[in-house]
Symmetry: C2
Subunit: 313 residues, 2 copies
């Protein structure tokens, strides 16, 4: 199996498929060896039916983890083989209650010896092994229930991509980016007010020269996010965090979070203890980010959330 040494673990799906096929093939031969008229694909259905007097198609499907049409087909085949009787009396006329026939029950009783031998063989095999397949599979099921493989890979991608993101200070070459990124999202949700226009068109004079700061997030050396710290003249708040914008194409790389923590760092170094922030509550993802950064809601104003950093001190 040199192939899988080359691919590494990302081929786990292919590798599992091959092993499964191997086991299923041998299982088919086992039923033959013991002289039972059964196929591996009937097994799960047969097993649950031997544990229950009668079940509906859907109940069986749920218990064994198959789709409902799969069970319908299997039941049809098993009925033909005389193992199962369907359409038993049910109060719910949509349901097709099925159960084992006398022949099926006889088979269920006599197949016990085969079950024992197979269980013993697998137990023996697992005892020879240092890694345990059964438990490993159970654990993967559990871990994938908690978070799917898809979502785990997405998380890894974010992690990797955030390594390609650097945060730099403002310089005139980012003037255009600062304007466009802010324009983009503000016009999407609101109208551009004069104060907005002033700030995003003239960051140097309206923000930096007044004691503020601007940070730019670069992804592969292209500016994809900005954030500003605006000097406030207020007894409690030293700065306002504002004009945070991230390009939609660069979403999902935790750029907002990186800009936020960086700007807080800058504010701290400038001696600030509280930051002010205004946001419309309808911008849910942004609000979540602010909470994550440590901002808290000021109860007074219902529509806006303003906040203060409670993280430090």
């Amino acid at each position: 199996m040199n192939f899988f040494e080359q691919t590494g673990k990302m081929a786990i799906g292919s590798r599992l498929r091959l092993l499964t096929g191997r086991i299923t093939d041998d299982s088919a031969m086992l039923y033959q060896l013991y002289g039972f008229d059964l196929t591996p694909k009937w097994f799960p259905v047969f097993f649950v039916l031997s544990q229950n007097e009668a079940l509906s198609i859907t109940e069986i499907a749920q218990q064994i983890g198959h789709s409902q049409p799969s069970v319908t087909k299997i039941i049809k085949e098993m009925t033909k083989a005389g193992l199962v009787k369907s359409n038993l009396k049910s109060a719910d006329k949509r349901q097709n209650l099925v159960g084992l026939t006398a022949k099926g029950k006889l088979l269920a009783a006599s197949i016990q010896v085969q079950y024992q031998d197979v269980a013993a063989a697998i137990e023996d095999l697992e005892n020879q092994a240092t890694y345990h397949l059964w438990e490993a599979v159970a654990e993967w099921e559990f871990l994938l229930d908690q978070q799917s493989l898809l979502s785990r890979v997405k998380q890894q991608r974010k992690l990797r991509e955030s390594k390609d993101v650097t945060i730099v200070g403002y310089s005139p070459k980012y003037k255009k980016a600062f304007k466009e990124l802010n324009e983009q999202w503000i016009t999407k949700y609101f109208e551009l007010e004069q104060a907005d226009k002033d700030a995003i068109n003239h960051p140097q004079s309206y923000i930096i020269n007044k004691g503020g700061q601007i940070l730019v997030a670069l992804y592969k050396n292209e500016p994809v996010g900005v954030c500003a710290l605006i000097k406030m003249d207020h007894p409690k708040y030293d700065f306002e965090m504002a004009k945070m914008a991230v390009s939609p194409e660069a979403q999902g790389k935790r750029i907002g979070y990186m800009l936020g923590t960086a700007i807080i760092e800058v504010a701290k170094k400038a001696g600030a203890t509280y930051l002010y922030l205004e946001s419309n509550t309808k911008l849910t993802p942004a609000i979540n980010l602010y909470y994550k950064l440590g901002f808290e809601k000021i109860p007074s104003s219902p529509l806006l959330i303003s906040g203060q950093i409670s993280i430090w001190n």
Copy 2:
């Protein structure tokens, strides 16, 4: 997954199938997420082709562990998608040498980031687990290479069935069985001689009364095997082991072996140090059994093997 707790490990095939499906489904979505025009089933072929300039269909099939028609179909699809060019120049005109196109090579290069993310996600998952799926699968492959599941179950069956076998001493109620079992196999291969007839028709007078012994193997209380110890008047050999017969229906339950070890035990208790045995070499399974019991060939006679017990002392 309560179902698999009920079935126990004999449902390992079904359980693996479900897990495999789950992983494959997520893999398909991953290719979509990263924007690559690839499906999970192409992956093994695509991977080996990205490692080799050109391969024949059969070579690919062997490397990835698929059937040849499966690869043929996949190559057809990938050719249609422009990833693969087939019928490259080959000395052997039967062969269909295939390799990646420029587009395929580009894809191979750009998909590396996805590979990395998937590998990292799986690595992370395995690090969270106490049992390790990848290694467990590799170990099962190895153990099944050594001995198939089918053969392991057969072994367990023998073991179980040999527990239902008991060895008892001769009594007149086994007279018929002793005769029939011996008649059955002797007439199958040879002619019944007068000495044979005497012994199998009158075991009491011809064997036991002359200082010999007879053991009977019972399977579910039915006599299915016999073996005799015949007193010899010889300077070296105390007894001859003879008239061993096992019913064909009871074959494969290690009954011959059990009878043999029991009769040797009896001989030991009677003070014997060497046993004599004659057999025609064409009875290969029997010969193997005798060797297993500790008999050795007497070089002089080519057609017969006679022997001596060298196990004890």
